[in-house]
Amino acid sequence: MKKIINKPETVVDEMCEGIVSAFPGLLQLDAENRIISRKDIDAAKVNLISGGGSGHEPSHAGFVGTGMLDAAVCGDVFAAPSVIQILEAIKLVRSNKGVLLVVKNYSGDVMNFDGAAEMAEEDEDIRVEKVYVNDDVAVTNSLYTVGRRGVAGTVFVHKIAGALAEEGADLAAVKAMAEDVIANVRSMGVALTSCTVPAKGEPTFDITEGDMEFGVGIHGEPGVSREETVNAEILAKRITDRIIADIPFKAGDEVALLVNGLGGTPAMELFILNKEVQKILDKAGIGVYRTFVGNYMTSLDMAGASITLLRLSGEMKRLLDAPARTAALTI
């Protein structure tokens, strides 16, 4: 394992410090509960909290700031934060208008966010709503009872619901918008290498030079199939076709596109992948309203990428373009 860290046990705490010390004017840290929040918490607007396991940086702390999240709660690497951590975050950003939790749909995350929401409502009398992001089209097995998992599409929920909250909308409206985004966003990823969890010290899965994990998650869990590596054009086609078929996206739709790096893949490759995706969408008559290319939802040092499409309404376009001032995204 080659990592710039001090020791595996403290990576999350030190990373939290590192994020906040880079943006001292914007962010503050509750170190005990690993909560990174806006310095200027506004109790007069709906406040958004997200979080989950660490290792997905810049998600979610990188999206805390004006027009996106109000707080991010950081779990251990790939493990949802605890009920108590989340509860403390809810208390921290409590607002007269209520709090919205943006949860990626994984058992661990759902259980802990639900538990915290329950306690916040019962014990603290805070209005809390939750949305569960489930944009990954990879897994379609019918045996599968917990629903799709949440991946890079989550960032669009932060951006669009966050912008609406910033404008002063009420909790019901912000939640409805978040759910609208969730209903219209789809993603899928591919890994060329495994990530290495610091505590484990070696790759989560073995993979040979000629293979890739297709439909991989963001926690180093293997994908839905192991396939031979293909070139960027074929890869883009395989992923994008699957995403397009899912909603389905249709000719005439306008979308936001996110070509997301999983941590170890450099910008050059993401831009090449973007070129291929744009070609496919163009051919399908799907208009790209705005494109994002970069590391938004990573899986530690994994080489690989995911593609996300969000079908946009007019209102969503407006909110996507609204100002945002965060560590990882400024608009």
Partner: protein, 213 residues
């Protein structure tokens, strides 16, 4: 042994903690096969804190002891494990509320509520390839023994251990329906569930170190 005193429960928790701590890497490896490889770390983290707490708080009754263990897990552990085991310990704590000792029957009840706490939060049933597949059969085995008139806890736990081991072994053959292994679909076949193995090993270690000597 016909009854478990608070000190016995403490010893049991201590052995469970050792199982979790000593097998951290092993449990991670099992979780890595079909999940994301962090189960061992989260479990060890929680039980380390429980273990520390055991020494500090000697005035608790069994109910408080279990409940406070649940609170500690809920605070320090995230992931599915934090929620599941936190809820389990808190349910068990409610079940043993105010008690300074447990009969064999009460022992099964507490364990049953422990399992109930997990089911409530996680919604898993037998066959979903989770730790319920080890825990539930173990409790059923205890129940059958009690129905046969068994009163000593040693025998009960002996039966529980066997059932848990069988249950854990059987998770190899099934497709996950809860937890991160779900996303693998059929690819989860062939690997046992990490949580079920951990439960089974805890039964074994408790018996070996506390009851079978």
């Amino acid at each position: 042994m016909e009854k478990l005193k608070t000190t016995d429960v403490k010893k049991i928790l201590d052995v469970m903690a050792d199982t979790a701590i000593e097998n951290e890497q092993y449990f991670c490896k099992l979780d890595a096969a079909a999940g994301d490889g962090d189960f061992g770390s989260t479990l060890a983290k929680g039980f380390k804190i429980i273990k520390e707490n055991l020494e500090e708080n000697s005035k608790y009754d069994i109910g408080e002891l279990l409940k406070s263990s649940g609170m500690l897990i809920m605070k320090s552990c995230g992931g599915a494990t934090g929620s599941l085991w936190g809820s389990a310990f808190r349910s068990a704590g409610k079940s043993a509320k105010g008690k300074a000792e447990l009969t064999a029957v009460e022992c099964r009840e507490v364990l049953n509520d422990f399992c109930g706490g997990m089911k409530k939060v996680g919604g898993a049933e037998v066959g979903d390839k989770t730790l319920i597949d080890a825990l539930d059969p173990a409790i059923k085995a205890m129940e059958r023994s009690i129905e046969k008139g068994v009163k000593d806890i040693d025998t009960l736990l002996e039966e529980a251990e066997k059932a848990a081991a069988d249950g854990a072994e059987r998770t190899k053959e099934i497709i996950a329906k809860k937890g991160r292994a779900t996303y693998l679909g059929k690819r989860s076949i062939g690997y046992p569930d990490a949580g079920a193995v951990a439960v089974s090993m805890m039964f074994k270690d408790v018996n070996n170190k506390l009851f079978r000597s």
